[in-house]
């Protein structure tokens, strides 16, 4: 008989002999924690139970135990905290707490992050909404979870800000951990990797840093585009990558653009990028209307937001950019309707959203030029110079193209913006880039990335 069975049988006998109140109070959360040489140790939840069982029920307990297991000679009692599963949460009391929606009050997020894996448990595949915009990424993630280290290695997910990359990456980590709780999983951003590296260099603990990172079964690195221009970090990361990859460990990356579009300087970077591309590349694009609506519905259910279907449809229609923006719009509308304590009309929702969503035409030409310069990593002022260096000409043409496309600027205006160039130069630039985007997908990616950047900057 196992300890558990023995105790259950004994409890059954005891229950018949003592009053219900006594039984519930004193025998709740008790169990046999040890049995050796005929001595039983009974675990009790607190000092009171211990005293009570020792002094009032000892003989009785011993008798019940012996009638089932005659070899038992003695019993003693020891206080153990009830295990977490047994603790029934008492009804939450919100006596003093005002009733307000927790959705608006921010929390210390760090409390929920598992320090060992750096993953937030809220990101799961179940809560990841799949639409045509991300189904490829989702399928790749599933393949990785089923067959880590073998199916797609490394997995590289890219797409604009707020489209759910981090969610997907963390969900991969959480799922793999669920399948194999002993797996060593670690999630971090490229920035954190850089900071940890710097710290270990300062504290001269580089060796333990290396060992730490080369020990993971799954390493997830978010926002790898921030590795650009950090040669020392790249080098260290390159070695980590190789070690993990060679021993068949899974690697997952994300970036806001495809690896090819990450500004390339130096040899290490090129090698790193070609490694990252070696597995599978999947992109997440902007969600389509149906997916946006599904996301809004899921979010409302999760946050217990009660808005009419028509309002959600309107939000899905008006907010097209990113999931994060969608969530923000949902919150704003919800707060507003709570304030006014009524269902908002279509016009009111529209008014709120148009106030919060800055229209695209607030982008200034100089913003675009600045972003382009940053993206290609050239000094901003060189764009305005009449230089024909290829590394400048190309970005300049792209900037002109964007000015024409997004700001609907006239050709003479564009020419003048770029340090007084002829309008024909602008026409040539626009047409050249326009033609090329049709053929060259990499260029298209780059332009999408640049657009994403300045459109997000406005917020």
């Amino acid at each position: 008989m196992t300890n558990e069975e023995l105790w259950n049988v004994a409890l059954g006998e005891i229950e018949l002999a003592v009053s219900r109140a006594n039984f519930v109070t004193w025998f709740k959360d008790t169990k046999i924690i040890d049995q050796s040489n005929g001595i039983i140790t009974v675990g009790v939840p607190n000092g009171f139970s211990k005293e009570w069982l020792e002094n009032k029920f000892h003989k009785f307990i011993l008798k019940s135990l012996r009638s089932n297991a005659p070899e038992i000679r003695a019993a003693n009692y020891s206080i153990v905290a009830p295990s977490a599963n047994n603790v029934k949460p008492t009804k939450p009391k919100f006596k003093k707490e005002p009733i307000f929606n927790d959705a608006e009050q921010l929390e210390f997020r760090e409390f929920y992050i598992d320090p060992k894996t750096n993953l937030h448990p809220k990101y799961t595949l179940d809560s990841f909404i799949v639409g045509s915009f991300n189904e490829l990424a989702h399928a790749a993630a599933i393949a990785v979870i089923k067959n880590p280290g073998r199916a797609y290695n490394p997995l590289f997910v890219y797409g604009g800000v707020g489209l759910g990359k981090t969610h997907l990456l963390q969900a991969i980590g959480n799922s793999i951990l669920k399948e194999g709780p002993n797996k060593k999983v670690y999630y971090l951003t490229s920035e954190k990797f850089t900071n940890e590296l710097l710290n270990s260099l300062q504290n001269q603990t580089i060796q333990s840093f290396k060992e730490k990172f080369r020990d993971y079964d799954l390493l997830i690195v978010d926002d790898v585009q921030f590795f650009a221009n950090k040669t020392k970090t790249q080098e260290e990361f390159f070695h980590t990558f190789n070690t993990l990859f060679e021993s068949g460990r899974q690697l997952v990356f994300s970036s806001d653009r495809s690896p090819k579009s990450i500004p390339s300087i130096g040899e290490i970077n090129d090698r790193l990028i070609s490694r990252m591309e070696a597995g599978v590349l999947v992109d997440i694009s902007e969600p389509e209307y149906e997916a946006r609506l599904a996301i809004l519905k899921a979010k409302s259910a999760e946050k217990k937001i009660d808005l009419p279907e028509s309002t959600l449809e309107l939000i899905a229609l008006m907010v097209q950019k990113s999931i994060r923006e969608l969530e923000g719009a949902l919150n704003t509308v919800n707060i507003q309707s709570k304030y006014q304590n009524e269902v908002l009309t279509k016009e009111e929702v529209r008014a709120i959203l148009s106030k919060n969503l800055k229209p695209r035409n607030t982008i200034t030409p100089s913003q675009i030029i600045k972003t382009v310069a940053e993206f290609y990593d050239i000094p901003e002022k060189s764009i305005y110079e009449h230089t024909r260096k290829t590394e400048v000409v190309r970005p300049r043409q792209i900037a002109m193209f964007l000015l024409r496309e997004d700001l609907k600027g006239s050709y003479p205006y564009i020419g003048q913006k770029f340090g007084g160039m002829d309008h024909t130069t602008a026409i040539h630039a626009y047409e050249k880039i326009h033609e090329e985007t049709k053929k060259n997908t990499r260029l298209e990616e780059e332009i999408k990335g640049i657009r994403g950047k300045y459109q997000n900057q406005q917020r």
Partner: protein
């Protein structure tokens, strides 16, 4: 049993003990008190199986014995009994109270049903000045969660190491930490434990003004021995979040403001706080002021401008008005310092030049 004591002495003890009884339990004996005059002392005991207390009452014992009586009945009787001295006498399970003018019988419970007071030995002991401990707990306990879902968040965290005690509590929206430094804390090893909120509240009430107090800890319990009483509370089993990592190390904006100014303006603004309990706080270095505003669509709107020394960026954020004013209320300095980085990262409140108390508050979404 037969004993005599003054009404005041026994009344105080009964009221204190009654707080440690429990009303809603399967075991009705838990709402009662044990009056014990077996040996040379009169002791009153009570327990709700989470906390337990034993109080010694000065008085004279004529015949030894003990009895268990309902706490509520005894305390209401004593509260209204106007006479100086009282004689208690047992008659089987009944308590007989006699004075010159009244004769009362209170029905008791069988003595053997009353829980046995646990004998526990403290593995670790340390001494703290009572007033500092009292102030420390009271300034921190406001941040503890009222919900029971996460026991570690509805408890008060203690970390004791050489000459220092750190007391902290958080409900994950805000965090309060008090550091007590005293030469009297003799503790070589670092020791940390969680006292459930109820136990901590009780300790607060038991602490006096001007003495050192000894606290003993073992794996599951804390024991407080103090003047004429012994108090025991269960400890929370769990791990308090590693909170030091969330304390920001640097800030973009720092504002210093007179405490009396900000608290009076907070009270004004509080009248107009909306349903979400939100208050807008705008740190404006150009105007050298903190501007707070509240609005309630049913009541009205309010804006206050409080002059302040501000360095850094201009930041607007939104906070829960109650959380913010509770934090401000705990600061004892003449000037308060507000530190923050962005409208979605925590605000650190402390007294100017005083790092012993920190109050960290997360903003609300949607500035």
């Amino acid at each position: 049993m037969k004993l005599q004591c003054t009404n005041n002495n026994i009344k105080d003890a009964v009221v204190t003990a009654e707080r440690n009884t429990s009303k809603n339990q399967t075991l009705p004996v838990l709402n009662s008190l044990l009056i014990d005059a077996e040996k040379d002392k009169i002791k009153i005991r009570a327990t709700n199986l989470e906390t337990a207390i034993e109080i010694i009452v000065p008085g004279k014992i004529f015949e030894s014995g003990s009895i268990v009586v309902p706490a509520k009945i005894l305390s209401s009787f004593l509260a209204n009994a106007g006479f100086e001295q009282i004689t208690f006498q047992t008659n089987k399970n009944n308590l007989l109270i006699k004075t010159d003018t009244v004769e009362t019988i209170i029905r008791g419970y069988p003595l053997e049903d009353f829980p046995i007071f646990p004998h526990i030995s403290a593995q670790e002991k340390f001494t703290v000045p009572a007033p500092e401990l009292k102030y420390g707990i009271s300034s921190v306990i406001i941040a503890a969660s009222h919900s029971d879902i996460k026991p570690e968040l509805s408890s008060v965290f203690f970390n004791v190491f050489k000459n220092t005690i750190k007391i902290a509590a958080t409900d994950s929206f805000r965090l309060a930490e008090k550091t007590i430094i005293s030469k009297n804390i003799q503790q070589e090893r670092s020791l940390s434990f969680l006292i459930p909120q109820k136990g901590a509240q009780e300790i607060l009430k038991l602490l006096g003004e001007d003495e050192d107090i000894e606290l003993g800890i073992n794996k599951n319990q804390i024991i407080l021995k103090h003047r004429n009483l012994i108090f025991i509370s269960r400890l929370t089993d769990g791990k308090f979040p590693d909170y030091e990592q969330i304390l920001p190390k640097s800030f973009k904006t720092t504002a210093i403001v007179k405490k009396s100014d900000i608290s009076s303006h907070m009270k004004l603004a509080g009248v107009f706080v909306g349903k979400l309990n939100d208050i807008g706080v705008n740190f404006d270095p150009a105007k050298k002021s903190i501007i707070i505003n509240t609005s309630n669509s049913d009541v009205g709107e309010h804006v206050s401008q409080i002059s302040s020394m501000i360095q850094g960026d201009k930041i607007s954020a939104k906070f829960n008005e109650r959380y913010l004013s509770e934090g401000i209320a705990q600061i004892n300095s003449e000037y308060i310092e507000f530190n923050l980085n962005t409208s979605e990262s925590p605000l650190l409140i402390k007294g100017k030049g005083d790092n012993s108390y920190l109050y960290l508050l997360m903003p609300m979404r949607g500035v």
